[in-house]
Amino acid sequence: MAGAEPKSRASVWPGIAALVLATVYAIALLAVETQQFIMGLLALAIVAVMAANWLGLLASVGRSFADRENVLGVLAILAAFTVAAFFREDHFVLLLILTVLLYTVATLGLNIQFGYAGVLNFAGASFFGIGAYTSAVLNAHTAVPHLVVLLFGGLLAALIGSLLLLPVLRTRGHYAALVTIAFALLLKTFLEVNDVLGGPQGLQVTGMRILGWSFNDNIAIGGIELSFYMSYFAVSMILLVGAFILVRRLERSWIGLNLDALRLDETAASCFGVDTARWKITAFTLGNFLIGIAGALFGMVGGFVAPNNYTFADSLILVSILLLGGIGNPWGVAVATIIVVVVPEKLQTIQEYRFLLYALLIIVVLLFRPEGLLPRQVRRYFPGWRP
């Protein structure tokens, strides 16, 4: 966490400049198909970021985001819409963007659990899967409105997660993590042998439909044709913004303080009245709720769920996003998700080796930047708050 800050509020411009550059870069990276160009762009990004860091530009961008988070947050939403609008007809790119958005939501959930409460959850993908299965079953067999189905996905993930509460509360650190690994393996086996839920073949998920408007039809407004993924994009953005605000407010409250205190020293926290069990339960449940909602929407986007989509390896990816981005920093989570999801997808040559790439990336980050790409800052309860 960083040290002293100047008294006056930082300028908003470095943040705007960074957002504009990031938007242009994202469009270029997503548009380019040639492997050599993609590698060139990635190398350029690494060099540019290191140079900016060396010149102290990154620090001023960081200050800008810390002090003007509300304005820059709105602009970041606009940036995301700009990128999506640029690829409005391109199913493949939009699906990639949607994956980024929903993985970010899921990792934000993980961030509440591990980043704040210190409960390491190696079953992230399982709770994501529970959300997706909820969509599959409810959309096929009930008339529950699909937006409410998303909510049920989150609630079911939170509910099933509460089965783990007792063992997680009775164990600490690595042992609690083992409990979640055991759960992930059990759930996968359960889904594979359970014919009602489609067994190993999985289930189809009906697409989203709100007030009779089907999300799985392409959109034509005037003469402009939009990919059907654009409507999913809008819903996913709303979900992401909601999750982001929730996580931010949670961190910047007495609850965030309780969670930090119990993560860092459970005994000392107890001596100052922090009800450690209550807050661990709150964090674990809230995290699973977010992961479940993201999974429910992802199921509808993909149109298909199977046990093999939500394995232990996928949970590891979610955890590695958190480690890479900067534990406890939602902006870091967003940036890391983009890297982890987009890079292997664009660099087809490394597709086969992507786990190797993740492993290397994590080792490099842990060695040279152990707090992640964007380390968490000291808590300022409101952006730019200087009493």
Binding site: G3, L257, A261, A268, D275, T282, V378
Partner: protein, 258 residues
């Protein structure tokens, strides 16, 4: 005068080791009681029992008229007992302000709805508590009051001790347990810290302190009364000068003369 804290027949065993053995003590309101004894004589165990980290095997503790034997650390904190730790146990990555606010837990609104949705009200509570925390820090070290949002990790030992004591004092406890506040500090630093503690005590005069300390100069200077422990048993009680002259106490520290 009715004692603020009353321990009767306290016994705590760890396997075959008897850490506290039928220990009785009365702590009177507003006094500073020194708790001394050789290493391993049960001083810190007594703190951990009072604060509810350890249960007891026998005996009971009454605090402010209520039986608190076996209560949770959370309940005992709410009853008005706060402590510092022998090895500084601050949350190092958190700011000074955050660390102090951990100690203010019972005065902060813990509602989920309040914290997440009523941000205006939250801001008001935040501002009030910031002023209180800053005022308390200023008593100890005005220089630290300008660093309220810096991580504790970068501060020297004496400042960490100060913040630890601020964390214990922010919610105005009735009883403060200080576990070796001089550990890891120089003689001058210790003396400075003790003056600060006395200053805070004079401000709100309802503070009772139990002090565990090896630095006898500190004990002599600030305690009203001392209790000496050896192998979990009380071997002497009284003003420091009397206790220090006690033959049993000298033997406990120096060994038996042959």
């Amino acid at each position: 005068m009715t004692p603020l804290l009353e321990a009767r027949g306290l016994t705590k065993r760890f396997g075959g080791v008897v850490a506290l053995d039928d220990f009785n003590v009365d702590v009177l309101p507003n006094e500073i009681l020194g708790l001394i004894g050789p290493n391993g004589s049960g001083k810190t165990t007594f703190f951990n029992v009072v604060i509810g980290i350890y249960g007891v095997d026998a005996g009971n503790i009454t605090f402010d008229g209520a039986d608190i034997t076996g209560a949770s650390p959370q309940a005992i904190y709410r009853a008005g007992i706060a402590r510092t730790f022998q090895r500084s146990r601050l949350s190092l990555p958190l700011s000074i302000f955050d660390n102090i606010m951990v100690g203010n837990h019972k005065r902060l609104n813990q509602g989920l709805w309040f914290n997440l949705m009523q941000r205006k009200e939250f801001k008001r509570e935040l501002d009030d508590n910031y002023r209180a925390a800053r005022a308390l820090v200023e008593v100890f070290e005005p220089r630290l009051a300008d660093k309220m949002f810096e991580p504790v990790a970068g501060l020297p030992m004496i400042d960490r001790r100060r913040i630890e004591i601020c964390r214990a004092l922010i919610n105005e406890p009735k009883l403060l347990l200080l576990d070796e506040p001089s550990a890891g500090m120089t003689h001058d630093e210790t003396s400075e810290l003790m003056s600060d503690i006395l200053q805070v005590r004079d401000r709100h005069n309802k503070l009772t302190i139990i002090l565990v300390e090896h630095e006898m100069g500190v004990i002599e200077r600030i305690t009203d009364r001392c209790v000496v422990l050896n192998f979990g048993r009380k071997i002497a009680e009284g003003p420091y000068r009397e206790v220090a002259a006690d033959r049993q106490v000298q033997e406990a520290y120096l060994g038996v003369a042959l």
